[in-house]
Symmetry: C2
Subunit: 222 residues, 2 copies
């Protein structure tokens, strides 16, 4: 995990009047999406509570009370409310800290960003994750692996990449001239190809240009 002190991000776990805890899983892609989102907002990370998936801590009784879906991350608010689902946590932060806008500024922009975030999340990210969860040896103890599902998804990755490639051929970022939550989701999906043992073919030149720029942002170390 990044050295948070180098971001000036420790020392305050407060956002406005709200003190929070983030149940975090260091290398997993969804907790990382949330940490990158905080960094892009310029908001200090709340207190991090590490949950070790390899020790099945996310299946403990205590954690299941926080999130019955037994998934990371979870943001616990000061009033005890447990907020799960990566995009729900990001949207909460957007509501408290509207600038810079990462979910859009008006109904049409918000809808197009929602569309692209879902398109890359339910398409590319979901397929890459399925390959990882259902074929990676480290997941064998955590998942009822279905190898046929890993293979079916592996075959779909290229189609999802082409949708992203064509969009990035005409736009600096996924939704236009500035970074949005859709770039974070898509960039994390590309990063997650490596542990999923999927190569990004050379021909995706626009994805390579855009991903190189993303990876150079300070937030990407989160």
């Amino acid at each position: 995990m990044v050295d948070l002190a180098s971001f000036g991000m420790v020392g305050s776990a407060r956002m406005g009047e709200v003190s929070m805890k983030l149940y975090d899983g260091a290398r997993a892609p969804n907790p990382r999406r949330v940490r990158i989102f905080f960094a892009e907002k310029g908001v200090p990370l709340p207190e991090l509570i590490p949950i070790d998936i390899t020790k099945k801590e996310h299946k403990s009784e205590a954690f299941t009370k926080l999130n019955p879906a037994q998934r990371l991350p979870v943001l616990e608010l000061d009033d005890g409310t447990a907020l799960a689902e990566t995009i729900a946590i990001c949207r909460y932060l957007e509501g408290l800290h509207p600038t810079p806008p990462l979910f859009g500024r008006d109904p049409k922009e918000q809808a197009l960003i929602e569309m692209w975030n879902r398109r890359v999340e339910l398409g590319l990210f979901s397929s890459v994750s399925a390959v990882f969860r259902h074929s990676h040896p480290s997941m064998a103890e955590l998942e009822e692996q279905v190898p046929e599902w890993a293979e079916a998804n592996r075959e779909q990755v290229d189609d999802h990449l082409w949708i992203l490639e064509l969009q990035l051929a005409g736009n600096p970022y996924v939704c236009g001239d500035s970074l949005t939550v859709a770039d974070i989701t898509a960039g994390i999906a590309i990063d997650f190809m490596k542990p999923s043992r999927i190569r990004l073919p050379e021909e995706f030149v626009h994805i390579r240009r855009w991903h190189g720029e993303l990876a150079a942002r300070p937030s990407w170390k989160a």
Copy 2:
């Protein structure tokens, strides 16, 4: 499909200054989510363009230009913008017509509704859909079916149902005292169990109470 004239929902395809077209697939669950959302908002449906999935019209070149993911529904705005992804379309409508609020009114409420909508969508609805797509004979020509994936999902449906059941044990609706987009997604998931040939066990008494109330709403005929 519902007789729209009985809702007073024909005669105007205008929302404010925006004239639109909705690419629709009559019995498919996602187009129906959007039609129910329009009805709950009290907004007339735009012009409907039927797309016949059984004839693979969603894979045509013309439709692929509208939505490279080749999925329904798509809302085409007057300026030619093609808005895909059910929840993006619903959120656009929420922006234009904030009342009644179906995505929440403040950051915390919005985040909790987003969480529950995703929890039921990526959990229950996704599993029920996987059973349908990967086991129903009518889908054999449209999908590369992976029977092992249908079975793995069939085994998970009960876990997803219990998450919903426990939430509805303490709340009239999924997110509290009034209907939100999360109820529409969850209700559609329950409806979709029937064509997916999954029985709702008797023991889910709170789901049965809530679903009975949903099904009695005029919007549910959409």
